[in-house]
Symmetry: C2
Subunit: 417 residues, 2 copies
Amino acid sequence: MLDFEIAAEEIMARCEALGNISQQSTCLDRRYLTKEHKQANSLVSGWMTEAGMTTWQDAAGNQWGRYNASHANAPRLIIGSHLDTVPNGGKYDGMLGVIAPISLIAQFSRDQVQFPFHIDVVGFGDEEGTRFGSTLLGSFALTGEWKESWRDLTDEQGISLADALVSFGSSFENIESATLTPENILGYLEIHIEQGPILENENLPIGIVSAIAGAKRFNITVTGMAGHAGTVPMEMRHDALCAVSEMILAVETHASSARDVVATVGKIENAPNGVNVISGRTSFSLDIRSEQDDKRDKVLADILQAFDTIAEKRNIAIDIQQTHSADAVHCDTQLKSDMIDGVAQSGVSPRILPSGAGHDAMAMASICPVAMLFTRCKGGISHHPGESITVDDVRYTVEALHHSIINIGKRHTGESA
Amino acid sequence: MLDFEIAAEEIMARCEALGNISQQSTCLDRRYLTKEHKQANSLVSGWMTEAGMTTWQDAAGNQWGRYNASHANAPRLIIGSHLDTVPNGGKYDGMLGVIAPISLIAQFSRDQVQFPFHIDVVGFGDEEGTRFGSTLLGSFALTGEWKESWRDLTDEQGISLADALVSFGSSFENIESATLTPENILGYLEIHIEQGPILENENLPIGIVSAIAGAKRFNITVTGMAGHAGTVPMEMRHDALCAVSEMILAVETHASSARDVVATVGKIENAPNGVNVISGRTSFSLDIRSEQDDKRDKVLADILQAFDTIAEKRNIAIDIQQTHSADAVHCDTQLKSDMIDGVAQSGVSPRILPSGAGHDAMAMASICPVAMLFTRCKGGISHHPGESITVDDVRYTVEALHHSIINIGKRHTGESA
């Protein structure tokens, strides 16, 4: 008899343990291909082994564990999420989706429950994109979508992605070996905290995702003219930071005036960044999302037009580089249906809701059907140390995942018969 | 016979040499109490010795050299400027005013020219304030104006001023030993590049300073709420960076609408500064200056009022710390007159102009009369690698300094007689 309460308590404890592995002493910050990434993989790998799984790490640094099917040539059901975090992040975003299936599988293993497919749990090395500015590096390796140009993406210390891979014990040339063959994949399931306020508002522990919003990201660099803060009259200045301030407000204004679109400038770097020096060059990021791609692109066009107008008016140069583009992804009808039933079987009224955040499931959708289960999180807070979930909600999550897997198994057996 | 051309060429070469001592490989960046500060002091000390001066370093890390008077109990004339730079700075701002008198004294030494006062050349360790956010640390040590609270000022790495002094081989407790006795100081002369466009516009190599604008500086921290860039609707955000963008534009607008006031946000730090995280906390600097203190304070009040309004509207917290305050300083009538004559004796029409930039002379004015000589710089550019002066203008500078010292000597002898 499976015990979801014990599983839920184990999951909570393991989220705590993983949350202690950080490259900063004052907050949780674990980025792609760092030594903390390696430590996290090692810890997770140990839990996988303990749960009766065989483990391996692929060329992109993703951590894998397999719970074997009842027969050898079975297809695979992949369940996973990511192990990296944003700087000053929380301990559930990503981690919950890797840890939860392992604890469920430990229960399967103990009770010798078997399925007509392998259950492969994956912990992706990069989803947040905070080290190299480009997201979903882990899952894009599985779908074979790495671009040659990513080789030269650099982090804040100027270390390239190619060099970071070598330091991690892999190489850019070897990434292809991580690519999966779509033919034998039944689907990809992902558990994730909601990162929004809907489930909390409706007093529900879990929900099923309808679609994931499409996102575009840019790095923008504005070049003005540095100068002495005391001697250059206001009317003679070409202050890069002032221009960027105007651009940031344009982003806020245009996104606010459209419904169902969010746009964010999360990162800014200013140079020379001296107290008494007029800013000469300022770079910033732009992230824009919507479940409606056309609506997002309309707002984006307005924003880029505003940037041009501001740059022209201030006689400063602007350079815009797109670093990410993903259209909205809709979850698979059948897998979603299996999950809706699974939620209902757990005693929870099935609530279907969209995801404003991007997830590894977006990338995986290009090679297999995907479905997602959301767990309620306090105040909708994520990407912040205040991220919080309850052991009771985790119990519902594991139970619904269990029923969903059973439902997929039944459907698979029915289809194969 | 003094050769001002040889002196000017030597000065240009030495500015190049000092400009190579940097804590960054890609630009000139030399901050207070770093190992590069120590290297610069050592190089300058060697040149002082070569020029026939005795040398020492005081407890604040200022480098000194003395060219002895004709008699032992003579008063002292101090000539100097600073040896620190802003990040990505130029090689003349500060350095010219330390190097030029040394090369002139080398000529005095060779020809055994003597004066009825010691000529003390000082290279201040900190004027720009870019490491600890508080300016004029070098000259304030001479005037005995260090505050106990400065002990805990920290740099970007979190190193306190007190700890940095210990690393440099001094200590906060020992700073008092650098304080000068005002009684025997004849005055303080400072040569500096103009850092503005007036001399270039009027086709003049040098000019005499009337007054130095007063400046106030602040560190401001705005605290909002971090969150996920994809899931928090625009209307529910408390984005610190958006609030700061609005504040930066308020600074620009208020300063631009007043004549003779400049205000600058040169430095910004954002946290967590992730591509996909709404900004939770943003800090920035404010520097505001005018030759008219009341006008500056009126604009400042308007800016601070705007900050409060923005913070309230956006429901975010704001913390404002003043780090620097100096009223406008007027140059000494007699020393200025000696310098006006000196400029005329060099064959240049004397142009008296204000200084929008702060200088060590501002601090020194509290213990002795001060005067300043400006050297034309290309495009008025400073705090930038594009800083540029000509050997010919440096020749005029040295010649005018020479005549000014002779004039001071004559007046002093006349007064003493």
